[in-house]
């Protein structure tokens, strides 16, 4: 038979449970669940890149390259040099990504279609073609990239982003971290461009390389 004591105990247990449920439902974390899929705020609709934030196109990016960059940002291997303005803006975005978040983001990015990017840089394409010859050894004759060499595709990327990264490599604002071996290769290779005209010309040549 259930006596008073049992009822009191039962009631207390039930009250405690409902208090716990109420508290959980009202916890801030549940009112505003945390979601790592905030990339499009800066990187544009469907990851097509956004000049307003200088955040590059992600749609169509190789998943192995995206993974490496997110991990580099997370570890502070990229985006911590004081002159890398855009990198510094990106770095904290990656800092709290778990490995499973990175995997999820990569699959989300993979769902976006590549859409041709707008051309904003106009330089001398034939001079650029000459300069590109040595880039081709890693990035491919058509800018298609080479996973075995760790070189991403360049064709179809926002030209203003390519130009900024080339400048960053030349100055050592990107790629000088001791753990960034691919970046260090790039800082050497980029020296051949020498100046802003070189950057403009090679980027305008890359603009002519079609993704189709």
């Amino acid at each position: 038979m259930i006596g008073k004591t049992e009822i009191i105990v039962l009631f207390s247990v039930l009250s405690f449970c409902s208090v716990k449920v109420y508290a959980a439902e009202n916890s801030p974390e549940l009112r505003e669940p945390y979601n790592d899929r905030y990339c499009t705020t800066c990187h544009g609709t469907d990851g097509r890149g956004n000049y307003g934030i200088k955040a590059p196109r992600l749609a169509g990016m190789e998943s192995w390259y995206l993974k490496r960059q997110l991990e580099n940002f997370r570890a502070g291997i990229r985006g911590t040099h004081s002159s890398d303005r855009e990198g510094i803006a990106m770095q904290p975005m990656a800092v709290q990504l778990s490995d499973s978040s990175i995997t999820d983001i990569i699959s989300w990015v993979g769902s976006w279609d590549y859409v041709a990017t707008e051309i904003t840089i106009e330089g001398n394409e034939s001079l650029g073609q000459q300069l590109y010859i040595q880039c081709a050894s890693c990035h491919g004759a058509n800018g298609e990239g080479n996973e075995a060499l760790g070189a991403p595709a360049l064709r179809g990327q926002n030209d203003w982003y390519l130009a900024t990264q080339l400048r960053n490599f030349i100055e050592g604002w990107r790629g000088s971290h001791p753990q960034d071996s691919f970046g260090q290769q790039m800082t050497l290779m980029a020296q051949s461009l020498q100046n802003d005209d070189g950057i403009k010309n090679v980027v305008s040549y890359i603009n002519t390389l079609s993704r189709n």
Binding site: P28, T41, C42, G44, T45, G52, I53
Partner: protein, 526 residues
């Protein structure tokens, strides 16, 4: 090393370069005070049986103003807000609130009390902002006084008085005294060359003398304006010692001390009782059910016969068809959407730069500033935290919320730091003003506006040069203000020449609605 100049040489220098105006820095960041107009009465056509759909992108105050006003005239309005809250940079943080800085999410732990809030963005209303004040009245938002200038607050600079904080009135009274002494001397010596009548010269001299509280012989010998050292009620007051002029000159903070409370930052300022977001709540009460939250705009297609908005909500992409669109999404985010804007419109959107601003706040376990004679107001420091604001409300209650840092324009200094480093910097800076600051404050929050999700900036910057707008900038401004395709309006404080004020956002919405009204009237007339 530059050689020292005598006062006489300095005055001659001033005379040669055209007077005291030459001494003041060109391009004061405060700029000119915009003309105070009475609140604009919107003259918009009520639609009657005509049906017009309006899409409003962003739940900032300009968007809510449009929703509210067009709603009244029978337009069918929908507001799409990307985040979980409306208001944008009108953000009041309270117990349990989320601060959605990407990469540094915080939850506010202030006690759950009505007076313990922090206005993390918009924080003061100049009384010249008549349109905003008209809405406060119309929406029943209760207002109280906000205190900016407080002569008992502090001024601190490591280069001044060995880093000891000075009361504002000590600094100001003494600085004005010496300035006036110089002016008075220059007046009497140069009277012969100046085109003043005797009466004018006498009046000017008397202004100078009373400005600086000069003594006999036009000398500054201290003043009682910054209070007595002792006495003054029942026994004779003992005047405080003067501060030495050359000591005052070691710091450049004088520029701030004597100009910080002019223009839109000067008395009289107001704030809503209970938090700035009461204004947003006032608008929202009138447009119940017309706001979609967590609805992030993905595309804007302007067509001859309307506008199509694509947006993501609940994991799916939706379409919203409308006749017109009012867009207060920051242009640096809007430019990355799937749009079909004309190229000169896009160029203008790309030209507008996003600003950086940073604030931080603590809950104070006791209102220690009131024990030091400070009620409301702002202490200014020559360090990275720059300002401490004391709440004008909740006087003599147990606790209060203080603003611990405010960097308008250079906030990236703090965003490079992790949360603990930011807080530690503010504690060290505050300790220079109030001993035991560290022990008396708790529950820090930091707001880095250029990192806040869905905003990524504060506030929009048009002109590149302090000295004014270029012709090209004005052209871009006009292009962006006019509706793309006659249907898409950019609004918000970004669509103004005086960004970072709610009044500008509201006036941009009014401009756009008046323009819309002309188009709608002519459509209906056909």
């Amino acid at each position: 090393m530059s050689r020292l100049v005598t006062r006489r040489e300095l005055i001659n220098l001033l005379g040669a370069t055209g007077g005291t105006a030459a001494v003041l820095q060109a391009g004061s960041v405060l700029g000119l005070l915009p003309a105070t107009a009475s609140a604009a009465a919107l003259d918009l056509l009520a639609l009657g049986s005509t049906n017009k759909k309006v899409a409003i992108l962003g739940g900032g105050i300009s968007g809510l103003t449009v929703a509210y006003e067009l709603n009244k005239r029978g337009y069918d309005c929908t507001v799409l807000e990307a985040s979980h809250r409306c208001g944008g940079r009108i953000f009041t943080v309270r117990h349990g609130d989320l601060i959605d800085e990407i990469g540094n999410r915080q939850y506010c732990e202030f006690d759950d009390e009505p007076h313990l809030y922090f206005n993390a963005g918009a924080a003061r209303i100049p009384t010249s902002h008549r349109s905003l004040l008209a809405y406060c009245k119309e929406l029943g938002v209760e207002l109280e006084v906000f205190i900016g200038e407080n002569n008992n607050a502090f001024l601190q600079d490591d280069a001044l008085a060995s880093g000891k904080p000075l009361r504002m009135n000590d600094y100001k009274t003494n600085m004005r005294g010496f300035l006036s002494e110089m002016l008075a001397k220059s007046m009497s010596e140069q009277q012969m060359d100046e085109p003043f009548t005797e009466t004018e010269a006498e009046n000017l001299l008397s202004v100078i003398r009373s400005f600086g509280d000069l003594s006999e012989g036009d000398l500054y010998q201290g003043s009682s304006r910054n209070g007595y050292a002792s006495g003054g009620y029942l026994i004779h007051g003992v005047q405080k010692d003067m501060l030495a002029f050359r000591d005052l000159l070691q710091s450049s903070m004088g520029r701030i001390a004597l100009s910080a409370y002019e223009g839109e930052y000067g008395p009289c300022l107001l704030q809503p009782v209970g938090g700035m977001d009461k204004i947003i709540a006032g608008f929202l009460r009138k447009i119940e059910g017309q706001v979609k939250y967590r609805a992030m705009v993905a595309g804007i297609q302007v067509r001859d016969d309307g506008v199509e908005i694509a947006y993501d909500q609940g994991g799916a992409r939706h379409k919203l068809q409308a006749d017109y669109c009012f867009n207060c999404i920051p242009t640096h985010l809007a430019v990355g959407l799937d749009h079909n804007f004309p190229s000169d419109y896009i160029k203008a959107m790309k030209y507008v730069r996003r600003g950086e601003a940073y604030k931080a706040a603590f809950q104070a376990k006791e209102r220690f500033w009131e024990k030091e004679g400070i009620y409301g107001g702002i202490t200014r420091m020559n360090n990275s935290s720059r300002e401490i604001w004391y709440p004008p409300h909740g006087i003599h209650k147990d606790k209060g919320v203080v603003l611990a840092a405010y960097d308008f324009g250079g906030g990236s200094y703090f965003t490079k730091m992790i949360q603990q480093e930011r807080v530690e910097t503010h504690l060290q800076d505050g300790e220079k003003i109030h001993s035991n600051y560290r022990d008396r404050v708790e529950k820090p929050i930091t707001i880095a506006w250029h990192r806040m999700n869905h905003m990524l900036g504060c506030a929009a910057r048009w002109r590149q040069s302090f000295s004014g707008w270029t012709h090209e900038e004005e052209q871009m401004y006009n292009i962006l203000q006019a509706p793309a395709g006659g249907r898409h309006y950019v609004i918000g404080d970004q669509m103004s020449m005086n960004s970072a004020w709610m009044e500008s956002a509201i006036l941009s919405a009014h401009w756009a609605m008046q323009d819309l009204d002309v188009r709608v009237r002519s459509e209906i007339a056909k």
